[in-house]
Amino acid sequence: MSHPIQAAKFLEDKSNAKWHDETLWFVRDKRDTSSKGIPEWENLRELASSIKDNVLSNLDSYLVEFEKNAIKNGIKIHWAKDAEEHNQIVLSILKEKDCKAIVKSKSILTEECHLNPYLEENGVEVVDTDLGERIVQFLNQPPSHIVLPAIHLKKEHISEIFHEKLQTEKGNNDPYYLTQAARKHLREKFLAAKVAITGVNFGVAETGEFVVCTNEGNADMGVHLADTHIACMGIEKLIPKREHLGVFLRLLARSATGQSITNYNSHFRSPSEGKEIHIILLDNGRTKQLGREKFRNSLKCIRCGACMNTCPIYRRSGGYSYDSVVPGPIGSILSPGIDLKKHSSLPFASTLCGSCSDVCPVKINIHEQLYEWRQEITKAQSSINAKSIAMKIANGIFSTPYAYKLSGQIMRGSLKILPESVTYSNLNTWGKERDLPELPKQSFKDWYKNNGNE
């Protein structure tokens, strides 16, 4: 279903839509305050972007270097060219460990691979341990935001789910109370799991280590108690050297939530004695995107979510309206590369205001890429639609001065007398939530003739 249709559904609940809009703007505001506390903020963005340029232009050699160092550290490396292979690798490790229940911390990559349903079909219980992810998992929903997975839900709703699933008091909506109930519930899961899965925020080629950032501490609770840690990592997550972590950790949390750093930033280099760490390096369309010159920069993304919080469309349409694992502006340039047909409405879900590019910590030209995707999609769409007819008519009018003059006169005359049912008919999609501007009595040309010489 296309973005405008889904967005209209989201907007049916006006008060919720307003809350969503204001809450995300509040997060964006915190990001501003936080970034302004760093005088060298713009230098850091520039630096981060150039480091990622270097990574993307040498990705093969950094991958080989990372693999070599990780193996030296006693880590097992797997390569997956697509989601299916990724999921099979995870399952084969679980089978080898005879493991029927796992804990998983937030990983957008495993969402991208639809790992949960795959494992469940194969008889493995998957417990998402990030609080927001656990909440949406109870509802069989995907996350609606990459950093704030349950931002679309109100506490009353969460309280109902917890009452049903965790037997909390009915009607107790206190966030502290609900969080403590989840803590207790998930502690049991952490203590019981033999295998824990995490995503990866950054992989360091120079050392073969990788970094996972959380505020809740759920990734660490999982992996340090389990015997086996599986880290699922997109091949674009690499950075060349350890010192580059300084640049990215300064940018990530400030851009995401306005915090100066996440409370836990764990560096995994080698397994504890008797334990195992596996890394799965996933392509799944990334090398294809790397080959698209105009869209290559999208692979710099560090998944902070700043572009979502600032986007006037995302804030007013909600994550689900994108029907894409990564929603919002960045999702709208990543997803068409994976499935152009399915995601063809996403690059149009933007005002092209450029706010996404302005807040992006790695300076991805998001709004320019949205514009580029529109060109690609329009070219690919051979069918004639209302917009293309309108554009053809407009082309005729604008290229003939007399037609332009005449149509102006007709519009100024007719719009005054026509009933609203006609001027705001279904053909006028522009006028759906907007009023037409008040009509001037004369054209600018006429006005200029009379006043221009004064």
């Binding site: 232009s57 550290n73 997956a80 927001g132 501490g217 300084g246 750093i261």
Partner: protein, 196 residues
């Protein structure tokens, strides 16, 4: 062709022009490092306490199970280091040493050499980190140059207690990890024996 070769050859086929890797300039931080660090810990919902307050806490009887690998406070430790980290499940308080702190964000670096088990600072109900007050560095760049090429199987920057805002953006302290973080800044006369 296996997937490894496939992925690498897909990348090599593109023959992308090489982009240069620039060095990181030196970025300083204004003001007193120790003050900034303490302020950052407070912003992250941690606390800064004195060593006397630490001793009071240890003696208070408010914590049933206490573990510390630090000799200085060994008399207050009433748990042995378990072979299986799961046996820390009922731990109420852990006191560990941090290597250094970062003024810009309150992050404290810990690694395998100061953590008896990697899960210790997460599984404990409450965490206290002891830190030399001279060990504060300005920012994350200085932090990584201080860590340098040191090898540790695991290392973590801890900047505050476990927290979440996943329910309507309301901040809740104490999600899955430690419900509180207190940092003890040791001055010159106290650090002997702990920080060497």
């Amino acid at each position: 062709m296996n997937s490894r070769e496939h992925i690498l050859s897909e990348i090599r086929k593109l023959k992308l022009p090489k982009s240069e890797l620039f060095g990181i300039p030196i970025f300083g931080i204004e003001g007193d490092l120790l003050d900034s660090f303490k302020q950052a810990i407070l912003s992250n919902k941690g606390e800064v306490i004195s060593e006397d307050e630490l001793i009071d806490s240890l003696q208070s009887g408010g914590y049933i199970n206490i573990y510390t690998p630090l000799d200085q406070y060994a008399t207050y430790s009433n748990c042995d280091l378990p072979e299986d980290p799961h046996d820390f499940r009922n731990l109420d308080l852990a006191v560990v040493r941090g290597h250094f702190g970062v003024a810009e964000n309150g992050a404290i670096w810990l690694d395998d050499t100061v953590l008896a088990h990697r899960v210790l600072p997460f599984i404990t109900e409450h965490l206290i980190i002891v830190l030399d007050q001279k060990s504060i560095v300005s920012n994350m760049h200085e932090a990584y140059s201080r860590i340098g090429q040191e090898y540790s199987g695991f290392g973590v920057f801890i900047a505050g207690p476990s927290k979440t805002a996943d329910i309507e953006q309301s901040l809740v302290i104490g999600a899955h990890g430690a419900k509180s973080l207190r940092v003890v800044m040791l001055g010159k006369e106290k650090e002997k024996g702990i920080l060497t």
